[in-house]
């Protein structure tokens, strides 16, 4: 099931190439390109964290946006209201959303399939209702505007960085943090722990039968996914200059699911590619028409019926066909 290109293409260090290219975006592209790249990085981390549940463990979480939102609020409240520096607020966001994911997940993993999806949705709406109404802490429907950027003045001392403004500096910070998180996620999926999760996806009864504590593993996956969603939310709040209640609204959960499926949830990098494609498409299409949801819905229908494996799945199939023809 896990999509894999042929050994020859795998020898090319794609990850390093993409990372190296991404490192030069602020020099090569415009300020707007850097802005877009920051957004892609944040969404890519969010979608990758969801895929730990969706693709790896086979859990249909329809409330993943809750942990993204909690991360954004924790980081925003720490940095804006309490004046805590970023290097403390960022881990706190991960811990905060991880704790919520642990508590909510404890109840969710007891249910299966559609009931699991509905309970995750219910919890995310509880979080939304609290964020929307608790004026004293979350700013209610006004949200938390003007979350400050982290102090990145030290970057100006680096060679070639002198002319960069805060936007570009924040891009470098995001790039490094996202890459670290993605490395951990990758390690996690390839570890024995990740293999057990895949076993659970393929056949939970059999996994339980050979002695795996299915609920405990699912809860661990749910919590880990929550932590990384929290990290991406923390970055997004700063990137967007504020944290607002609609970050947590249920339709956002569907949007990140679409990214994951568009890229292909059977491939580790699929969700990241989906995030990139969808973000760029959104920017392009919204400049022509206000009917972006219509386009998104149409893309989704085509995806579900024609390319259920997403972009990576289609590429994989295409590649296999190509190499097979050459062999014959």
């Amino acid at each position: 099931m896990t999509g894999r290109f042929s050994p020859r293409s795998r020898r090319i260090p794609w990850t390093l190439i993409v990372f190296a290219l991404a490192l030069f975006v602020p020099w090569l592209g415009s300020r707007y390109d850097t802005f877009l790249a920051t957004q892609i990085l944040i969404y890519a981390l969010f979608a990758l964290s969801l895929n730990l549940l969706l693709g790896v463990t086979g859990l249909t979480s329809f409330g993943h946006v809750a942990y993204f939102g909690i991360g954004a609020y924790v980081c925003g409240i720490f940095m804006k209201t309490l004046g805590v520096p970023f290097f403390l607020a960022f881990p706190a966001a991960g811990i905060g959303s991880g704790l919520f994911a642990l508590v909510f997940g404890y109840f969710c993993v007891r249910l299966t399939k559609i009931y699991f999806a509905m309970l995750t949705l219910a919890f995310s709406q509880i979080v939304w209702a609290i964020c929307f109404k608790w004026n004293d802490v979350t700013g209610g429907d006004q949200g938390l505007p003007d979350v400050p950027f982290p102090d990145l003045d030290w970057m100006s001392g680096l060679p070639g960085f002198g002319h960069f403004r805060i936007g570009e500096k924040f891009y470098f910070l995001t790039l490094i943090l996202v890459m670290l998180c993605v490395a951990v996620l990758h390690r996690l999926e390839r570890s024995p722990f990740g293999r057990v999760l895949t076993t659970i996806r393929e056949n939970p009864e059999r996994a339980a039968f050979v002695g795996v504590n299915v609920r405990a593993y699912e809860l661990a996956a749910f919590t880990a996914a929550g932590v990384f969603a929290g990290f991406s939310g923390a970055l997004f709040g700063i990137f967007n200059r504020g944290v607002f209640a609609d970050y947590v609204f249920w339709s956002k959960s569907a949007d990140v699911m679409i990214m994951t499926i568009l890229g292909g949830m059977n491939h580790f990098w699929g969700p990241a590619i989906g995030a990139a494609v969808l973000t760029i498409l959104n920017q392009q299409i919204t400049s022509y028409t206000e009917y972006w949801p219509f386009v998104l819905g149409t893309i989704l229908v085509i995806l579900l019926f024609v390319f259920p494996g997403g972009i990576m799945g289609a590429l994989d199939a295409g590649w296999t066909r190509l190499t097979h023809r050459r062999d014959a």
């Binding site: 249909t60 309970l119 249920w250």
Partner: protein
């Protein structure tokens, strides 16, 4: 009494949602979109037939038929091919419909608030316990349970209803016994969409039609069916009643947190009895 009218609307919408879950085991996010399209269609028909006294009733029929046909077309052409696939794909397909239908409505009818006036026969009202109750609200309070009763009788007392319940239990077996399950599913989908369209048409004299009414109602309808029990008709009825009560008592107990209290109730019920207060556990 205003609360009771709202509960009846919610019940009409949620009953269709519950019906389709009971048969197809899928949560239809697009149910709210069917409701919205029903409201817009009703407005359109009223516009075409305006001076006539029967305009509103024609509009109601038009909305029911139009939305049922729309649902039938979607089921026949697209949704049918997703049966047997993972829930994730079915859920996302219905979400895609929300996006597409929402924009299609905006495209066709614009973003302005539209409204329909009450049918002439039901103008005015009467005084009850010192408050004025419009005849239209009374009509809704009576029609809501009547329709529920009709569908419930159909599901429990007729041969067709037996087939529907059999399809919910074991589709393949029913297929093997020679029933045309494909069309049965289409029919149920149309019935469910038609109920949403009916609710959409009936709501137009009370609420203005705006884009976004689809997403707003679907969340409420979800809560109702989850509380009452997915697939349980009377569960949906009591769920709508309870929803209204919790919402109004939530306002009394923690002002500003009534939204929180209904979602919390939904979560608690899912944790303790995932099949709802009135539903039966399904394996």
């Amino acid at each position: 009494m205003g609360g009771l009218t709202a509960a009846m609307f919610l019940f009409l919408i949620a009953s269709g949602l519950s019906l389709i879950f009971g048969v197809l085991r899928v949560l239809n996010f697009a149910h709210g979109s069917f409701y919205m399209i029903g409201a817009y269609l009703a407005w359109q028909v009223v516009r075409w037939t305006s001076p006539s006294g029967a305009a509103f009733w024609l509009a109601t029929v038009g909305a029911v038929v139009g939305v049922a046909l729309l649902g039938g077309i979607i089921e026949r052409l697209l949704f049918r091919h997703l049966y047997g696939r993972e829930e994730l794909y079915q859920l996302l397909f219905t979400y895609a419909l929300v996006l597409i239908l929402g924009d299609a409505a905006k495209f066709t009818w614009g973003t302005d608030q539209l409204s329909v006036s009450r049918p002439v026969i039901l103008n005015g009202g009467f005084t009850l316990f010192g408050t004025i109750l419009p005849y239209y609200n009374l009509f809704i309070i009576i029609v809501g349970p009547l329709i529920a009763l009709g569908v419930w009788l159909m599901l429990t007392r007729t041969g067709l209803g037996r087939m529907v319940r059999a399809a919910a239990l074991d589709r393949e077996m029913l297929d093997a016994l020679g029933a045309n399950v494909g069309w049965l599913y289409t029919g149920m989908f149309m019935l469910s969409a038609g109920l949403a369209g009916l609710a959409g048409a009936l709501v137009t004299p009370i609420q203005s039609i705006v884009p976004g009414m689809d997403v707003e109602i679907i969340v409420q309808a979800f809560i109702v069916v989850v509380i009452g029990g997915l697939g349980s008709f009377w569960g949906t009825f009591w769920g709508s009643m309870l929803y209204g009560q919790v919402l109004s008592f939530g306002i009394l107990i923690f002002p500003g947190f009534s939204l929180f209290s209904v979602f919390a109730l939904m979560a608690v019920i899912l944790i303790v009895r995932p099949w709802g207060l009135f539903g039966k556990p399904i394996r």
